[in-house]
């Protein structure tokens, strides 16, 4: 049964998410004061540095302890806590409807969890779905009231068709001036490749976080005999004799593809997480996304 906004994430799981925050490797200049350390030093709570007192500085930030020891006036600097922009880009191509549960459903729940964490921490969270182009977008907003809209958007995600990340990125980077964390959730079974789209995002100063979602029968296909495989997106046939050697060749191709993705992401400073729909969702969010550095 397709998930709805109400059933996308259960309430008890949402309570567990309240303890998490979205971490950004880069520090972006937000438009409003948030709960995230900013490049701007000012009125935050987290001590950042000292500097010599200058006329006009707020007396409240003078460190009197240092003055008593050194007889010089120093101003304590605090990191300004600002919001960040979290962009959730969801692959809604036909291949994402594959699996049980469907990869798209699983990906929507991942995006919902990330979005929920971001919104509860006063980050701006936007979302978009794509296949061969950008389909729907939800502009970044920051408020808890935005959570329901985000969930509804993700629960209704769908589209079908072929997938083209580069075309979608070309549209998306010009759609919003706000740069920030770009979480791309896709199976990365992209006929035109994934590299150009991610490079485009990097070029436009987004910080991509790539989450690859696959189903187990894509990882270990349960096929046997002489088959004509029909691509769900392109409907192009591929004749295969699915015997032991063929499946071994598939496994080698799969592992090689994964290695390419890993090398690319490492080379371009892109965070990457690969998962299967068979992985328990809570483990993925609460454990592996923290290990991957997305949540703190």
């Amino acid at each position: 049964m397709p998930a709805t906004a109400a059933t996308l994430l259960p309430a008890d799981f949402l309570r567990k998410l309240d303890q998490l925050t979205v971490r950004s490797r880069r520090i972006y200049r937000g438009s409003m004061r948030g709960e995230r350390r900013s490049r701007t030093q000012g009125r935050g709570m987290e001590f950042s540095d000292y500097r010599s007192y200058q006329a006009g500085d707020d007396y409240r930030y003078i460190d009197w302890n240092i003055y008593s020891r050194l007889d010089r006036l120093f101003i304590k600097l605090f990191s300004e806590e600002e919001d960040i922009n979290v962009h959730l880009v969801l692959d809604a191509s036909a291949s994402m409807a594959w699996g049980s549960p469907a990869k798209l459903e699983y990906a929507a729940r991942i995006a919902a969890a990330i979005g929920y964490v971001g919104l509860t921490n006063f980050d701006r969270v936007g979302a978009a779905t794509f296949s061969d182009r950008l389909h729907q977008t939800l502009l970044p907003q920051r408020s808890r009231g935005h959570i329901l809209r985000l969930f509804e958007f993700l629960a209704s995600a769908g589209g079908g068709g072929r997938s083209d990340l580069a075309a979608a990125m070309r549209d998306y980077v010009h759609l919003t001036p706000r740069r920030g964390l770009l979480v791309v959730v896709s199976d990365l079974l992209l006929p035109n490749g994934f590299e150009e789209g991610l490079k485009l995002a990097r070029y436009h100063h987004f910080e991509p976080f790539l989450i690859q979602v696959l189903s187990d029968d894509e990882l270990f296909p349960a096929l046997d005999g002489d088959l004509r495989l029909l691509d769900r997106e392109s409907h192009a046939p591929v004749d295969v004799t699915a015997d032991g050697p063929a499946l071994e060749a598939y496994a080698r191709a799969r592992d090689g593809y994964f290695a390419e993705i890993e090398q690319f992401c490492l080379r371009h400073q892109i965070d990457y997480l690969r998962t299967s729909t068979a992985t328990p969702f809570e483990d993925l969010i609460l454990r592996y996304l923290r290990i991957g550095g997305l949540f703190a």
């Binding site: 270990f220 296909p221 349960a222 691509d231 046939p237 591929v238 004749d239 032991g244 090689g256 892109i270």
Partner: protein
């Protein structure tokens, strides 16, 4: 290694067929997958898109080929020779009259016995002895040589023929642990050369003089006697012939015989009794220098019961029988008759005796009538039974016949229904004709008197001369025992199934068969073909190779081959199972994996280090 069924090796042709089937692509089933990206990257489509599969090294294919090859070889029954208990030996001993020839001292039969005993002693495996007489019989089954040697020591030749074909067929059917035995045939006359049969021909010369026939024919002036004397071998010869009647000389003369020729001596004798012909010579075979016959044998008494039938009576009148006719019959008349002819008497119950039934159904024999059949045609005539021998019924037309339904006996003439049927049992010997003489033109054909003569001879037992080796079968009527007195002595014969049966009369001479107050005298003569004693070798026959020392036996390997094929199939199945796509449950779920060095995670670690 040899093969018991080499033709099954053609099944090996299935091997290239398996390869072709492997190379041919099967019809592919459409299966939808989320993406073919990884399959395309795997490169297997390059193989799959060809119309035929490239022949690659495949363990499964190799195992399939090996299993099929082993199965085909198993069907060919592979055999290997193994050292074992030794190959069996079957000794076939010719006990025919010609083996009494003395051209090999002391006689061919004695020499054959000596050679057979030596062969039995030297045999490494079990030995069997088959004696070829008028009927072949296993004298000693497979066992040690001592029993065979003892049986050979007590063996004696007969005055009759030998069924060598039957004896060799019997030997060819023997097996020792499934292995055909060595067959050694000791004879003076080989039949066809057969694989596994080794003839040891005994005899040197074919020179012989024999009485090949002694025939009597009753006439008005006494009994006409015809003696045939034949010379076998090169060169003419004159031999003295003596003919006696009841030991009284009635003829003595010299008979001049051309080389490989025959002379016929004919004379008339008065009176009745035992007639003997004798050649007063010494030659290789003595048994054919004498012959016997019965002169003045009383003619059988035939009683015809029924309405006057001119055709029947005239035909019987020309036969050597005494004919009487009556419209009613008494038990005394039945007892006095050797043969009773019942002509259109409806249904009758027959007492023990001999009967020719014309249009008459016996109630106590396994034959019934289900009405009549118009215009039946003669389709089949038995050429074996003595009643229909030389009887040509092809031109006979029948207006109507009884619808005979038989449950035994022997159908002699058949069309749409049985037309003439013979029965012999329970003291009754009968021939049943389904049609009356006035319902057919049989009486107008020459076959009719021949048929009547044959029927009278068979029914009344009028044979006075029998070839040696033939069985003696006489109706017992109501008698339980009889006495047979002949050259071999006096033996008692018990009735069984209404008949007296003596399996074989092996000795030539004069026999007296006494049953109650009935005495029958008949002669048994050696068959004329036994007088031709020239040794005959079959193509390929001769001194056999000494194969009795070969103690090997053939062991069948088909079971091992089948087991090997099954093991290979099991291995192929296991490999195939291992090659099947594995379920996710068997591999376990994929654990999420980040990049080998996740920039974000690395940053965390650096942060923690600070």
């Amino acid at each position: 290694m040899s093969f018991g069924l080499p033709s099954a090796l053609w099944l090996l042709a299935v091997l290239p067929l398996i390869v072709v089937l492997y190379m041919l692509r099967a019809r592919r089933h459409d299966v939808e997958v989320s993406s073919t990206l990884l399959w395309q990257r795997a490169g297997t489509e390059l193989v799959a898109q060809r119309p035929v599969r490239r022949l690659e090294r495949s363990v499964l294919l190799l195992l399939q080929l090996l299993a099929a090859a082993l199965a085909a070889l198993a069907l060919a029954r592979p055999q290997v020779p193994l050292a074992g208990a030794g190959r069996g030996t079957v000794i076939v001993l010719d006990a025919s009259a010609s083996m009494q020839a003395t051209d090999v001292a002391p006689s061919r039969f004695s020499a054959a016995v000596a050679q057979a005993s030596a062969a039995a002693r030297s045999a490494s495996g079990p030995v069997m002895l088959i004696e070829a007489r008028a009927r072949a019989a296993v004298v000693v089954p497979f066992g040690g040589p001592d029993a065979v040697v003892a049986a050979l020591a007590s063996a004696a030749p007969t005055d009759g023929p030998a069924q060598m074909d039957q004896a060799i067929a019997l030997a060819l059917g023997q097996r020792v642990d499934g292995v055909p035995p060595e067959i050694l045939v000791f004879t003076d006359r080989a039949v066809d050369a057969l694989p596994g049969v080794t003839y040891r021909i005994i005899g040197r010369s074919g020179a012989n003089v024999a009485i090949t026939g002694l025939h009597t024919e009753a006439g008005s002036g006494g009994t006409r006697v015809v003696v045939r004397v034949r010379r076998f071998g090169a060169g003419p010869r004159t031999v003295p012939l003596e003919l006696t009647l009841n030991d009284r000389r009635v003829l003595a003369r010299l008979v001049a015989l051309p080389a490989s020729g025959e002379a016929v001596v004919s004379t008339a004798v008065e009176g009745s009794g035992v007639l003997r012909a004798r050649l007063d010579i010494t030659d290789a075979l003595a048994v054919d220098n004498t012959a016997a016959a019965i002169a003045g044998t009383p003619r059988p008494r035939v009683l015809v019961v029924g309405a006057p039938n001119r055709a029947l009576m005239e035909a019987l009148a020309v036969l050597p029988v005494r004919v009487a006719r009556t419209s009613g019959v008494t038990p005394e008349q039945l007892a006095a008759a050797d043969l009773v002819v019942l002509d259109r008497r409806g249904t009758v119950t027959l007492p023990p005796g001999n009967f020719l039934l014309i249009g008459t159904i016996p109630t106590n024999l396994p034959i019934t009538s289900g009405g009549t059949v118009p215009r039946p045609s003669v389709v089949q005539v038995s050429a074996v039974h003595s009643v229909t021998r030389y009887v040509d019924l092809s031109a006979v037309r029948i207006l109507e016949t009884l619808d005979l339904q038989v449950r035994g006996g022997e159908v002699l003439v058949a069309g749409e229904v049985p037309l003439i049927w013979a029965y012999d049992g329970n003291g009754i010997r009968a021939v049943v004709m389904g049609f009356a003489l006035d319902q057919s033109d049989l009486a107008l054909h020459v076959a009719f008197p021949i048929f009547l003569q044959n029927a009278v001879t068979w029914l009344a037992g009028a044979d006075a001369v029998l070839p040696a080796g033939s069985p003696l079968i006489l109706p017992a009527r109501d008698r339980a025992a009889a006495v047979l007195e002949g050259p071999s002595g006096r033996v008692s014969v018990s009735a069984a199934g209404g008949r007296f049966v003596v399996p074989a009369l092996d000795r030539a001479g004069v026999y007296t068969f006494t049953s109650g107050n009935t005495t029958r005298v008949f002669a048994v003569v050696a068959p004329a073909e036994e007088s031709d004693i020239a040794p005959v070798s079959a193509a390929g026959a001769g001194p056999p190779a000494d194969r009795t020392t070969d103690t090997r036996r053939l062991a069948d390997l088909w079971g091992l081959f089948i087991a090997g094929a099954l093991i290979l199939l099991a291995a192929e199945w296991l490999l195939w199972i291992r090659g099947l796509p594995r379920t996710t449950a068997s591999r376990g779920p994929l654990r999420p994996r980040t990049a080998p060095v996740s920039p974000r995670a690395a940053g965390d670690r650096r942060g923690r280090a600070r």
